[in-house]
Amino acid sequence: MFDSLLAEMTISDRAWELGTLAVYLGGLLWIGLRSAREIHSVDDYTVAGRGMPWIVVLATTAATMVGGGASVGYVGKCYAIGIAAAVVTCAWHLQLIFTGLFLAPRLRGLGLVTVAQYVDRHFGELARRIAVVSGGLFLVGALVAQMAAVGTVTEMVLGIPGHWAVLLGGSVVVLYSTVGGIRAVVKTDVMQFVVLVAGIGGASAWLVWKHGGWGGLAAHPNVGLDQFDLTSTWNPVRLATLFGAFLLGEMMVPPYAVRCFIAKDEKHARRGVAGGGVFLLLFLPVATLTLGMASRAEPAVQKVVEAEYLKIRDSNSELRATELSRISNSELRQVAAEGHEATDRGRAAQVAFPALMRTTFPPWMAGVMIAAIIAAVMSSADSCLSCLATSVMEDIYRVHIDPAAEDARLLQVARWTTLLAGVVSAVCALVWSNIADILEFIYDFWAPSMVLPFLVGAFCYRREQSPAVVLSMIGGPVATAVWRFGLDSPFDVSPGFFGFGVSVLVYLLVCPFCRRVPENHWLRAGGVEEEPK
């Protein structure tokens, strides 16, 4: 993508970058494979023996949270639209703080392994099955998207063909996740967290110092005070619904739930997950804003982004011309054309972060920063892979296929699932081109089906209300589908946000009719007693 930049690099610069990356990938493999020695039971493989201290939970939660979107994607968004992009990402971190304070201790106290088990204990078998399907869809989609992101980001940053990057990065992730399970995932996450925080934090401090502080950066002719106006690009409705969608979209998704399960006890779960949220809230939005603004201030980065925009515009020109020709009203045509330009410029801005690294830092430091970018993507992919294997083993194999299975057999199932899911997702990532759309689609469906059961379970649980919760778990996704596909998401309201609203409404409407504890097998809750200490 930045062919001109790559062409300008000397062989020694390139050797530094590739060497740093090779050392980083080698380190990940070494740490991951060493973790296999600590796997003695299924509990070790799926919940790391429930022995992680809060600082490790904090690091692994934060590393999982920061994927390709939160790093490369949102530096690009800050570059394109300014401070509003950094502000909406605060919703992700606030969601983690809420989860840590109110849900993590409860989840840890129940001694669970998967999200579906929580739903089963509170709302019965039908809700559990919906949770398994919802969690499975989310994990498969997120895994394929993160695998594809490994390829896209590496191709963008290093110029290595995307399919080779998927095969190389994917092999490393699949290998250590298969052998070492969640123990390997957590240990590599800690390493990825250190690289990520040191890389992004160091870069943001150095760039602000280089421009003579924030005053100097804001006064730069390519930046300007407009960039610090919250509503200069997004209107208040869009800003508010995006904030709401981000707040709900990833709440209690399986990778975060597992971070609650692996903690030493309730106190460590609360401090680790909420601490991860507090840290990210303090650290990441300002850091991404800094990198976005510094990219605007660098003429070399602007040149690369402009070249990328022209490339995207030219590749879409025929399709866009056909779309515009169908619009008869000239004013509407003009609005649509401006919308296309904004979309293309937004996509082009994704190259801002890697271009900034390459044009601003010496090669060895650019190598570390590139490793940090790739760390962000890989740490999200390995978490999805581990959760998927755990869900297949606990929610499907142990429940429906062999309830009496012994530890060794379950461990075998989890390992084979990890390997198979990793290979299949890497293959899907190679052949599937609309990954971003699929990811958006999956995120839209998580909140409407799964957030309300967690909130009800934590704050106002009553056994007789399980039919209301089950109906809300069905009604929410159906409303999301209608809003998204039937009505094409009117008024700038995201489908996930609308679907969640409908799920709350269904719950409130059905609740008054739920006066007796259901006797039916499908709706009878499994019980919410805490595990013995």
Binding site: A59, V194, S204, G213, W214, V286
Partner: protein
């Protein structure tokens, strides 16, 4: 419009928090490593 001085303050907080968390991790790793060494015994 968010004032620039406020962003400067948040930026300092951001860098300090990164430093504190990284140091905490190093201290925890050191503590765990030294404990493991003691457990191994002479």
């Amino acid at each position: 419009m968010i004032p620039i001085w406020l962003i400067s303050v948040f930026h300092v907080v951001s860098i300090v928090s990164a430093g504190v968390v990284l140091l905490w991790l190093v201290a925890a790793a050191w503590h765990s490593w030294s404990e493991r060494g003691n457990d191994a015994g002479p």
